[in-house]
Symmetry: C2
Subunit: 417 residues, 2 copies
């Protein structure tokens, strides 16, 4: 009898969480990684390029990494050592984020520093509890739907529609210029809204955002506004939802250094909860989110926070913009390649994603074909919801030479379209 | 009309999570911080010493911080840059943890690297979903009860008993040598068990752990075994629950570098889920925990993971042990001080906490008295549950000179006992 084992294996009497059983297959990105690996194994000599998951590739500017290295080194000294920090984040970082992104709009103590938006979305779900009604853009970042399913906001998965029951899917397609038809959208407690949008790359205008806020106010909904790509915005539209009148009464904003500063691996983000945002009983949402952050979280890494603080200082802001502009140049290349080949192309201007239509062909088929013929990983549009069917997302996160080669490979296969 | 505001403030129509409304006051440690700050404000010249929250104070050995600084610097280079990592942790760290702490017992892919045990406990709750019955040691680390309340495992708070309805509180007091009377404990789905125990410092023997495992197997329960202080064990008892026959069929273990390597601020922990652990329907628990980790989490910081990897290599292991021994020496001082003064003293041998009885006086009164008379922060035992009433926890995490001074101050006030 080995250690840790006594007699035959047996099941416990603990019931499985029925909500998790509802989830289909794996989470999208691990699924793509699996397929990529299978392709690589079958084709060991292929140099596979990934413009799939949206993972940053370029080094972080030295002014930021030096700050992190300094903080790490400091942990070896009495003066530089720090243990538990405030679960809500270091006060100077909260103040710096406020100054950099919410000056004159929000207060530092409305900003909660975290290990990233994906994690904050689940913590927001824990705060809300089960049984809240939810609306999402369709297509959208899978974490909104998946975390809603896990938390118990939804019914079962419907194979026919490819959707979960009891979620409102707000279709965002070329036909409606990627902005939902709110006049015909039923009320929900929560509206997840990602702007600029992942995966379509579309960016709502100021007027559209006002329409969204007015819709939420009218319905007494809370908008969870994901601004993870706001730094890529070129057009004259707000960088934060809190620039829209009324937003403080109906919005929570989540954002992250992942795409701002290449912190996908470093892990640092933040969520903004206005003090005046209230549940139906009049109690402040910020108090309950604070309780979740102090009970279910223990602060972002002090080293990562030192990096974040460097990001929001003058040299760091310039460093972030140089990274952003590098990816924006990639994006132009990708966009132009598909435009030149005569494809239906969206996004890629205010966001690092190009959304390419393939004449209504099934997304996973196109994904497989591009992987097979070009040794190139993209993301199938339908992985973001049925509204993404017929499209693939091409990410601008990659080394320039890889993006250039990917474009050449695509031209070779699809140039005669 | 200011930005973000439109007309009068108004509540949304989103119902507040009734489970959060059940929670009493604040989370224990922020509450203590508040009282400490109030004392400091009222006594601006006092040099307040904290042996309260259990926060590490000593610098991290250079072999570990150098690895983190190197990883941070590396993020500025093409070779050293890394973006999204596996949500479950870097493969070499999972292998290193397995080699260091679970050799021959568990496999690397049963170990999930995270940003800490407190966070993992909430993720385990998300995995379990609401409506699971829960048992906790009383007293115990507040996150077990609080996360259970938030997730919906409990009834309302009962003012008279100081307990939540529908939680089984397993009393651990000197009368039962701090090990629960399992023969008279009702079955629950989940048993939170911290060993060595926070706050009492008690450590169960091998026989007691076998009794716990057999109890869980008999009842079909899952034990969430918190081994955060295992490295402090001196006695001949197992360092992991998976050394106990049967444990792989009924246990999950969570652990952390917080107290091992002074990573309270760096944030790095892990949770071990055996492949053979099964829900009642026969489905593997590890699959659902993996789904939670990939959907609700995005990996621990790559810089922190570089530190963790250094920890489990030979030089790092020695560095960790030197830290542990430093705090153990503190603990001896504190323990002896109270013993010499004739107090009822428990713990402090296999754990960095000394559990001191004050003749049945209310814990918060004693806490306030020690803060007032000694400018010393402790933790009131009842903050860990009604079973802690009459005791205070004194933490061994502090600079030696502070611990020495704290002991002198205590002797001055309580030496004539």
């Amino acid at each position: 009898m080995g250690r840790g084992t006594r007699g035959a294996c047996r099941a416990t009497g603990v019931a499985r969480n029925a909500n998790i059983a509802k989830l289909q297959a794996g989470y999208l990105f691990p699924e793509i990684a699996k397929r990529r690996n299978a392709h690589q194994e079958a084709n060991p000599d292929a140099r596979v390029i990934s413009l799939g998951i949206g993972d940053t590739t370029e080094p972080i500017p030295a002014v930021i990494t030096d700050a992190m290295a300094g903080a790490a080194k400091g942990l070896n000294t009495l003066e530089g050592y720090s243990g538990y920090g405030a679960e809500q984040g270091k006060p100077d970082l909260r103040a710096g984020l406020c100054e950099a992104f919410y000056k004159g709009v929000m207060e530092p103590d409305e900003i909660f520093v975290s290990d990233g938006s994906k994690c904050d979305i689940s913590r927001l779900q824990m705060m809300l509890g089960p049984g809240r009604s939810v609306a999402v853009q369709d297509p959208s970042y899978p974490a909104y739907v998946d975390s809603s399913v896990i938390t118990g906001q939804t019914g079962e998965f419907d194979e026919a529609s490819g959707q979960f029951d009891d979620i409102v899917y707000m279709t965002c397609r070329p036909e409606n210029n990627f902005f939902p038809d709110l006049a015909n959208t039923p009320r929900t407690d929560i509206i997840f809204f990602c702007n600029p949008n992942n995966p379509t790359g579309a960016c709502a205008t100021r007027e559209q955002l006002q329409e969204l806020v007015d819709f939420a106010l009218k319905n007494g909904s809370i908008v969870v506004y994901d601004a993870a790509y706001a730094i890529f915005i070129e057009d004259d539209v707000p960088l934060t939802i809190f620039d829209i009148p009324g937003a403080k009464d109906c919005c929570i904003e989540t954002c992250s250094f992942s795409k701002y500063a290449g912190f996908t691996g470093v892990r640092l983000g933040w969520t903004v909860v206005p003090k005046q945002l209230k549940f139906a009983d009049g109690s402040p949402v910020i108090a309950d989110f604070n309780r979740i952050m102090t009970t279910c979280f223990n602060g972002a890494s002090n080293v990562a926070q030192a990096g974040g603080l460097a990001c929001v200082k003058p040299g760091g802001m310039e460093g972030m913009m140089s990274l952003v502009n590098y990816y924006k140049d990639n994006c132009k290349l990708i966009r132009q390649t598909f435009v030149d080949m005569g494809f239906e192309v969206h996004g890629g201007t205010n966001a690092p994603y190009v959304w390419v239509g393939f004449d209504g062909r099934a997304s996973w088929d196109v994904f497989a074909e591009i992987l097979e013929k070009c040794d190139l990983v993209t993301t199938p549009g339908s992985g973001f919801g049925p509204g993404g069917e017929g499209f693939v997302r091409v990410s601008a996160f990659g080394h320039r030479e890889d993006v250039e080669e990917a474009c050449q490979r695509l031209q070779k296969i699809y140039g005669g379209k």
